[in-house]
């Protein structure tokens, strides 16, 4: 662990690269802004006051640390490995997203920025951003694909209640990637007073590293909490998380990258199946490297380098790219990436509800579906830690529809 030369935790390099991935592929107008941001982040990183303020808010406002919970009934039902759930769905706003938002908003305040913009897909990042902006009295504008505005109405209303302006994005196909395009267009226009709060470990350097660092609290807590259950020094044998852009997964994985004994698994959204019809969002299993939204990473794209739309039952995984650090971990083989279909995720969703009394979001349901595949094949002393990155309240309408239940009926 102390051997810096053989560490997986040194990335990115000074050019924001993880191997060949990452970088700063932005227009000249934005370049000075991201250099300023990098400088300020480097200062904040070593400033005890910054960390003290964040720790205080994490504890009293977000409710950290989130519990590490032994899922006993699930473990028994699957009959193999011992399953722990990292309960990040218990955070304020119901997902891991707020870990990162708090860090970025504190940074925006240090930089004197008064106007916060964000993109959102399912609305979780938008809600977290609107929440923290309300907490600090900052103007908040959230770009959301028109299609998502329609299918995530409760989150749109939440953001409005919190005082944010939600801008439905109709450019392109009106999805998460188009929302990110429009947020970048806003930023390029309002360069002086605006801070772009990106919701995942993607975008131009320093975002992938910065968001990872803010989310790494997830993995750090797991390192401290598992010994409380399993005895001193015990590390998980497998850690597993769902991946859209990949922020909750990077947050869980990062503190374990140099622990050779820890098997790392990322679960992508396989939609209707990873095939040539591209009805999935599995950038690593079904895409190839390209450049979009400021970084080089695996992308869903056609032969001409045009970006394709992803497909998933989970709006939070519906992004044609993935954080560059995941692309790198994939290529060097440090982490393993698999995909789970909509159908498998729906089964896991229901299994979790009835076995543990936890209604999971559709995003971690993908991770859980893979846990359900692997746990029975592993010995009982094998410990799996899965990140329960969000709660499922937002998804009950989608799930009802997929299961053919009419919610307007009362019984």
């Amino acid at each position: 662990m102390d051997d810096l030369f053989n560490s997986f935790m040194n990335g990115p390099d000074e050019n924001g690269r993880f191997g060949d991935f990452g970088g700063r592929f932005v227009s000249e107008t934005l370049m000075p802004l991201i250099l300023d941001l990098e400088e300020e982040y480097e200062r904040a990183k070593v400033d005890p006051e910054f960390h003290a303020e964040m720790d205080d808010l994490w504890k009293h406002y977000v409710g950290r640390p989130s519990p590490l919970y032994y899922a006993e009934r699930m473990t028994e039902a699957l009959g193999g490995a011992k399953i722990y759930l990292k309960r990040d769905e218990l955070n304020h706003t119901g997902a891991h997203k707020i870990n990162n938002v708090l860090g970025q908003i504190l940074l925006a305040r240090r930089m004197g920025k008064t106007r916060i913009i964000a993109e959102t897909g399912a609305g979780q990042h938008g809600v977290a951003t609107a929440t923290v902006c309300a907490r600090f009295g900052l103007e908040c504008i959230v770009y959301m694909g028109a299609h998502d505005v329609e299918r995530q109405a409760p989150n749109v209303f939440r953001m409005k209640l919190l005082g944010a302006k939600v801008v439905p994005v109709t450019s392109g196909r009106g999805t998460l990637k188009d929302a990110m395009n429009d947020a970048l267009r806003d930023w390029v226009t309002n360069v002086r007073d605006t801070f772009y709060c990106i919701g995942t470990v993607a975008g131009p350097h320093p975002y992938p590293a910065m968001v990872r660092d803010f989310q790494a609290i997830i993995g750090k807590e797991v390192r401290e909490q598992l010994p409380e259950h399993e005895g001193e020094g015990r590390l998980p044998d497998t850690i597993i998380a769902a991946i859209g852009g990949g922020s909750n997964a990077m947050g869980l994985f990062f503190p374990f990258l140099d622990d050779d004994s820890v098997n790392i698994v990322g679960v992508e959204a396989g939609g209707k199946g990873v095939n040539e019809k591209m009805e999935h969002c599995a950038s690593l299993t079904g895409g190839r490297p390209g450049v979009l939204h400021g970084n080089r990473t695996y992308l869903l794209q056609d032969d001409d380098g045009q970006i394709l739309e992803g497909f998933s039952i989970s709006a939070g995984l519906d992004y044609p790219g993935i954080g560059p650090e995941h692309s790198w971990l994939h290529d060097i083989g440090r982490a393993q990436y698999v995909s789970i279909t909509d159908t498998e995720a729906l089964e896991a969703f229901q299994f979790c509800c009835t076995q543990e009394g936890i209604i999971p979001a559709l995003e971690p349901s993908h991770a859980l579906a893979h846990v359900m595949k692997m746990a029975p094949t592993l010995p009982k002393d094998h410990i799996i830690v899965m990140n329960m990155c969000g709660r499922g309240d937002k998804d009950i309408f989608t799930v009802a529809k997929a299961l053919g239940v009419d919610m307007s009926e009362s019984d």
């Binding site: 050019n15 970088g23 700063r24 592929f25 932005v26 227009s27 000249e28 107008t29 934005l30 370049m31 000075p32 802004l33 450019s171 392109g172 990637k177 188009d178 395009n181 970048l184 267009r185 390029v188 226009t189 309002n190 360069v191 390209g290 450049v291 979009l292 939204h293 400021g294 080089r296 992308l299 794209q301 032969d303 001409d304 380098g305 045009q306 970006i307």
Partner: protein
């Protein structure tokens, strides 16, 4: 010396300012797009910027976004964009063509293959919006080695500290983006732009042309008078999007070109 260098040298000798026009390749379809591009030199266009369509044009406003969508829906590709340039070159061997777009379609084809194909198609320079100087090793350096100009954007956020870095590997000309924002959104004021152009010209011998927000012959003239030339994109693309005939589009281009040439 590329066609770009030759063109600017000739304009300088004549004491004329440059008029640069942008159109999206394949908009509204391949045939009409080719017809429009072929008519640009006679309408007074000195340098043609040919847009390479991309699904995610992050630095462009609605007008050019929609042009890219029309082109892609009509089956436009990087190859067909190069084909269009090849066709144009059969009749015109002097008007420079600058290919303008985003990196991914180029990266997807492979940089070396792309550069060889672009050169063969008669492309003279590249403007790739999402490749700042920090990423020069990707395409800028290989393009210069292949004999293509790499034209960089300078913007209102490019301060004195950063300017040398932006100018370092730039060739052909410098494109000054007169406003912070996307294409076609805000209006440029010659009064604000003049000092900025002077600041850039103090650091380079390259011609400095100004774009973003120019949409009338008067603005074209005003901007060209305080720089080495003016670029118009969205205003022309808007006419194409409104379904105007090739003749009407070119007549509009001519009024803008005449404006710049009066300067």
């Amino acid at each position: 010396m590329t066609r770009i260098d030759a063109k600017f040298a000739a304009l300088k000798a004549e004491g004329k300012k440059a008029f640069v026009s942008y159109v999206m390749a394949g908009d509204p379809n391949y045939e009409q797009s080719l017809e429009i591009v072929k008519g640009l030199p006679a309408a007074g266009v000195d340098v043609i910027e040919l847009g390479l369509p991309f699904t995610d044009p992050m630095a462009d406003g609605e007008t050019i976004q929609l042009a890219g969508q029309r082109a892609l829906e009509g089956g436009m590709t990087l190859q067909k964009t190069l084909d269009l340039a090849t066709e144009f070159r059969k009749e015109d061997d002097t008007t420079p063509i600058v290919l303008m777009g985003y990196y991914n379609p180029i990266y997807s084809r492979g940089v070396d293959t792309f550069l060889a194909d672009a050169k063969a198609a008669g492309i003279d320079g590249l403007i790739v919006v999402d490749l700042p100087p920090e990423e020069d090793s990707e395409l800028c350096i290989p393009a210069q080695a292949a004999g293509l100009n790499f034209i960089r954007l300078a913007t209102p956020t490019t301060d004195d500290k950063r300017l040398p870095k932006v100018l370092q590997n730039t060739s052909g000309f410098v494109y000054y983006v007169s406003v912070t924002g996307v294409t076609g959104a805000a209006e440029a004021e010659a009064g604000d732009v003049g000092p900025e152009v002077a600041r850039i010209k103090a650091s380079t011998d390259l011609p400095v042309i100004v774009g973003f927000g120019i949409n009338t012959p008067e603005k074209s003239e005003a901007i060209a008078s305080i720089a080495d030339g003016a670029v118009v994109g969205s205003a022309i693309v808007k006419k194409i999007g409104e379904g105007e005939s090739t003749a009407d589009v070119l007549a509009f281009v001519k009024t803008l070109a005449d404006g710049a040439h009066r300067a």
